[in-house]
Structures are given as C-alpha cells and as structure tokens.
C-alpha cells in the first residue's frame, strides 16, 4: 500500500524534484510559488547539492545554465513576471542544448497583475517568450498528484532531449492541498551525459555555446533543433480524454480549468447533454493529431481557458475545418465555477 | 646573447614590441605577410640579450625567445 500524503501542490512538486535527483535549485521569491524555494532550501541543505536564493530571476536562470552545463539535475521556479525575466536564459538553454526544468506557477497579468491563478502564460510557454526558433516541452498538471508526477517526467524529458522543460502550473494548483500517492520514481533509460563541462582531463576540451558564426553553421544547428522538436512531437504527446465515445461536444481544457470543467460536464451529463473532456497534458507538443482524429466524429469543440483566448488557436489549428471551435474565457481573478462553465457549454451545444 | 623569432604570419605590426625593447632592436620587414602587415623583425642577433620583453608585450604571441 503506497503512502498517501495530504500535501500542497507546490510542495508536491518540490518533493518530486528531489525524488527525481534534482540537487540544485536557484530561484527568487515571488507569490504564489514561494513554497517551492522554501521547501528546497531546507531539503537541499541535507544533500550534497545546494540551494541558492539568487539576486533575481535573471541570475537564477543563468545559475541553472551553469549547473546544467556541469551535468547536474537542476531547476528553477517562478511565476509569470519572473518567467518573463528568464526568457533570454531559456533561449540560451535551448540553443546550447542544455537540460533544465523551469516551473511557472502562473499568476495573472500582464505586468504586475495579481496573485490569483490564470492561464495567460500559455503563449509565453508554448510560443517561447524568448528569441529564436526553439521550443520547450510544456507539461500542464491539473492536480496535486500531477504536480508531483509530471515533475518526475520533466527531469527525464529534459535529459532525454537536452532541452528546457516548462511545468505550467497555476496559483490554485500551487496553493491547494489534496491527497496524493507518494509514487516511486521509475527513471527513464537515458544516454550517459558525454557532453558536460567537467575539466578537460584526458580528453579534448568541450564547449557549451549557442553562438554559430561560421558559414552554414547556424542553419545546420537550427535544423538539428528542428529534428529534435519533431521527435518530441512523435514521441511525447500526452493527453487525457473522457466521455468522448458518444460526445456531441468536447470541452478542451488544461490545468485548473480542466478540473472545474469535469464538474461542469458531470452537471451537463445529468441534464442529458452529451459532453466530454479533452485535456492536453503536454501543451508542447500539442495533441493535435488526437484532436483531429476526434473531429472526424465530434463536430463541436469548446476551448475553456482562464485567459482571453490562447489555447483555442491551437485547437483551431488541430481540427482545421473539420469541426467548429468555440471559446469561453474566464479572465484571471478567482477560478471559474462549474455553473458558469455549464452555461457556456449550453450556449454552444 | 639571445635571439627572437617572429612568426611572420601572426604579427600584426602593432609595434608594441618596439616600445618594450630596451635596445631598440626591432624594425619592420619590407615584405608584407598574407594579411598585409609588414611584420616585426630583429635587426641584430649579436645585440639581442634575449630579455624577452618584446615577447611579453606582444598581444599575438608572435615572438619566441632564446637565450
């Protein structure tokens, strides 16, 4: 019988990181994710690793770059405005092909915004707020269990692809307490790290860089990264669909919105409406093929988000002209309530 | 008794070596290298003491010194 914990989302994530072998954390305080650095400041002191409260998010992402270049599993966490500050560093991580886990416990924006949950960073995460032609894997938990489990996955995927991975949570998921199963970590089989900087003892020196000035180098490098992202699209798509077999309308939602949608859908079903839920777990790579397949039979999709319309664009791109796509946005503030979403479902059913 | 060998292709004729040489023994070749610079050269092996001050200030590590 596996141990069950009654635990806060942020802490579940931090525990998952330690379990996955993360021994280095660099971060800066920002509401609503401070439980993560606070927890790790205690735990990492007990390991051979270290915790640094850096002077800024800019410094944090760069310390992460250094630790990753040295071959360590390392992470940082922040919330929306802090993630904005990290974009340059994320671009460098992707260009230098370094593994890294970056956690965004999304708050509302733009600007200073507020501390309540939102999904306004979907574009930032999936379209890359940083410069250049890169992608980050984006994992979207919707429960405290997934805050833990997807963190284990994040470290493996980061190492597998030598790429930054973003865990896109939100203030509600970070602050809520739920029961979770204290699952064991079953590591992926991964290639040894033969590219790390450790001092050129008995071997040729190595470089970790993203600068390519020689003729043809930059082009080759960009296509190499492209191939990597194609592989991610082939191998790493994750989603969950429920009640889709007889659905007339599929709600598409991730994170906290997906939770509330589940209740709304239960209410809808009780009234005889045939509604199902499609929940992307990876926002990049987006489960476009699965949506396209569904759209051969289901002709109405309702994208519900805590923003004014971001993921809906990907839903539209996925189903092309094979189905109608609607959008309901609950702008940031307090999360939506099931009754409100039920109304939205009925409007387009 | 000393001598210097200037790597002709590395020398950029910046002339900092001429400031450093205490005996002012360095002058510039009449022939340009492939970059278009006329490299430094030692005017007299008998006078050179191999003090290596020229090599120390050379930004291109273009000078080797023997003593």
């Amino acid at each position: 019988m596996e141990k069950r914990l009654f635990i806060k989302g942020n802490e579940a994530l931090a525990q998952g990181a330690i379990k996955a072998g993360c021994r280095y954390y660099f971060g800066y305080p920002i509401t609503p994710q401070n439980d993560i650095p606070e927890f790790l400041s205690k735990q990492l002191a007990k390991t051979e690793g270290c915790f640094i409260q850096a002077e800024s998010e800019v410094a944090s992402i760069n310390m992460l770059l250094g630790a990753s270049a040295a071959g360590a599993r390392a992470m940082t966490s922040s919330s929306s405005p802090g993630i904005s500050l990290m974009q340059e560093g994320i671009s460098y991580l992707a260009g230098s092909e370094l593994p890294a886990v970056i956690v965004n416990i999304t708050r509302s924006g733009p600007g200073l915004g507020g501390i309540s949950a939102s999904q306004g960073d979907y574009f930032q995460a999936t379209r890359g707020g940083g410069h250049g032609d890169y992608r980050t894997l984006v994992l979207a938990p919707h429960s405290v269990q997934e805050m833990h489990d997807l963190t284990l996955l994040a470290f493996d995927l980061a190492d597998k692809y030598r790429n930054p991975v973003v865990i896109l949570g939100d203030a509600v998921l970070g602050q809520m307490q739920e029961t979770m199963i204290d699952r064991a970590y079953r590591p992926m089989e991964l290639a040894p790290k033969d590219w790390t900087l450790t001092g050129a003892a008995g071997r040729e020196p190595r470089m970790i860089k993203s600068l390519y000035l020689k003729e043809g180098e930059m082009e080759r490098h960009n296509w190499k990264l492209f191939e990597k992202y194609q592989r991610m699209k082939e191998e790493e798509v994750r989603h969950e669909a429920s009640l889709e077999e007889d659905a007339r309308l599929m709600v598409v939602a991730f994170g906290t919105t997906a939770r509330v949608s589940k209740t709304a859908i239960r209410l809808a079903r009780a009234e005889g409406l045939r509604v199902g839920l499609f929940r992307p777990i990876t926002l990049f790579p987006f489960p476009d093929q699965a949506l396209l397949d569904l759209s051969q039979r289901v002709k109405r999709f309702l994208s519900i988000e805590m923003n004014t319309g971001q993921m809906v664009e990907d839903v539209k791109l996925s189903v092309a002209r094979d189905a109608d796509v609607y959008f309901y946005g609950h702008a940031p503030g307090s999360p939506p309530i099931p009754e409100e979403l039920l109304e939205a479902i009925k409007k387009v059913y | 008794m000393g001598k210097i060998i200037v790597n002709r292709e590395r020398c950029k004729a910046c002339a900092l070596c001429t400031l450093a040489c205490p005996k002012k023994l360095i002058l510039f070749s009449q022939e340009a290298n492939s970059q278009g610079f006329c490299p430094a050269e030692l005017s007299s092996e008998t006078e050179c003491t191999g003090c290596a001050l020229c090599a120390e200030v050379c930004p291109d590590i273009a000078i080797e010194v023997w003593r």
Binding site: - | A15, E56, W66
Partner: protein, 250 residues
C-alpha cells in the same frame, strides 16, 4: 641557447582575431600562464562573456561555457556549486561586467563564490563598434557620447575594483595594466595570485586589467597604449585593493 619564451600550453596555437595592438591577446596569455603555472588546465572551466571576450572558447584549450551578456558570474556560480574542486573563471569586458552584468558581479562577489573574474576594462564597448561604457572617461568621445561623456547626463565612470573590494565576500581585488613591461609583470603576478586564491579556497578573486582598444579609440596601437598611461591610469589607479590572507570571515 635555450628557449626562454613560448606560447603557454593552455592557449591553442591559433591566430588571435583581435585588432592589432589590442591587449586582449596579452591578457589571454597572462591567464593561460597562470593556469599553466598551477597546472590547472585539465580541471579549469572558463565562462565567456559577450563582446570581444566571447571567443575564449576558440583560444583556450579548456572546457568553456558561453554565458548570456553579463551573466557569466551567475553561470560560473552554477558550475562551481556543482564542481567544487574545479577551477572556474569568467572573462568579461566592461559592458558585460559593469553594465548589464552589474547585479550578477556584485552578488557573486558578495556571496564570496570561490571563482576568479578577469575583467578587461577598455572604456568602450568594443565588439559593437565603440559605444559608451560605464567606464568611459569624462569628456571621452564615443559613438553614443559624441560630445564627450558628461557627468550631468551619464554620471562618472565606475571604478569596479575598488567597489568590489568593499564587499566582505571579495577575497582579492586588484587593478593592473599591460601597457608597459613593468606594469605587465605586476599584472602577471596579480592574475597568478587571483587563481591562487581559488586553488586555496579563499573565495572570490577579481582582477581588473586596463586595456587599449585602438580601433574604437581611433588611435594607432602605440598612441592607444600611451592613452592607457596618460588617461586611464590617473582615473583608474593600479594596485591591490584587497587581499585576504586566510579565511577570516566573521
């Protein structure tokens, strides 16, 4: 006769792309000589800044990481915290360290990270074509201070070596120059001392090296070299501003 001067082992035998008379080449050599002196090549990792200093990975025969502009001290912190027994140094110019990277250098020094920072101060932004730097002298014309740096508009130039020496975390802070043989010999000693501090786990060591930038000063190498003596050194005095003898943290 035996050879008394040759290229240090830690520098690859490739030509430098630096402008004629630029002191970067000399400074690269001093760093490589210090690495060789303590036989550190196989356990040293360099972190390159952005600017003319970015090419560290082309020239040093060691592992090198490239950092975003200004962030080398933070990248070095990450490396050193993971690889505590390796020698980590950064190589940065005045834009990289004293402008965009000011937060990172101050806090890295303040934390007393056991790394070595090589700071090349030539009072301009070199790579980008000669714009004003935080170290540009009053009255100095640059492409973004065409009428000469004016205190009322841009403040005074910053003296990094003195400033960092005031932090408890700094173990060694010195300013040197390589414009004369005499200055160069002192510079050699300072760079060596800085690396020695790190090998002895004594904490953050910092060497500011005044450099010429003939191309962006609009002077030939000889004149540029003179300018270091006549204009830079009077404002940026040479010396050792802090040298910790042992780990005497409170």
């Amino acid at each position: 006769m035996k050879q008394v001067f040759k290229r240090p082992q830690s520098l690859k035998d490739v030509p430098f792309h630096f402008c004629p008379g630029c002191h970067h080449g000399t400074i690269h050599r001093l760093v490589a000589e210090a690495i060789d002196h303590f036989d550190l090549r196989e356990r040293t990792i360099g972190v390159a800044g952005v600017g003319c200093s970015v090419f560290v990975y082309e020239y040093f025969d060691i592992d090198v990481a490239e950092a975003p502009h200004g962030r080398a001290p933070a990248v070095a912190t990450g490396l050193k915290r993971v690889l505590r027994d390796r020698i980590i140094f950064t190589y940065q110019g005045d834009g990289d360290l004293a402008s965009i990277g000011m937060s990172e250098i101050v806090h890295t020094a303040n934390r007393g990270e056991n790394i070595t920072v090589i700071f090349v101060n030539n009072t301009v932004y070199g790579m980008t074509g000669g714009q004003m730097a935080p170290t540009t002298l009053l009255g100095q014309q640059t492409t973004t201070s065409p009428y000469g740096r004016d205190f009322l508009q841009d403040g005074y130039p910053i003296r990094m070596a003195e400033m960092l020496a005031t932090l408890e975390g700094t173990s060694f802070s010195a300013r040197v120059a390589v414009n004369t043989s005499a200055n160069l010999m002192k510079a050699k000693k300072a760079v060596r001392r800085a690396f020695e501090m790190q090998t002895n786990d004594l904490g953050f060591s910092f060497v500011e090296l005044l450099s010429s930038c003939p191309t962006n000063w609009g002077l030939n190498p000889i004149r540029a070299n003179e300018r270091v003596e006549k204009e830079l050194i009077p404002y940026f005095p040479l010396g050792i501003f802090k040298e910790r003898k042992g780990t005497d943290y409170l």
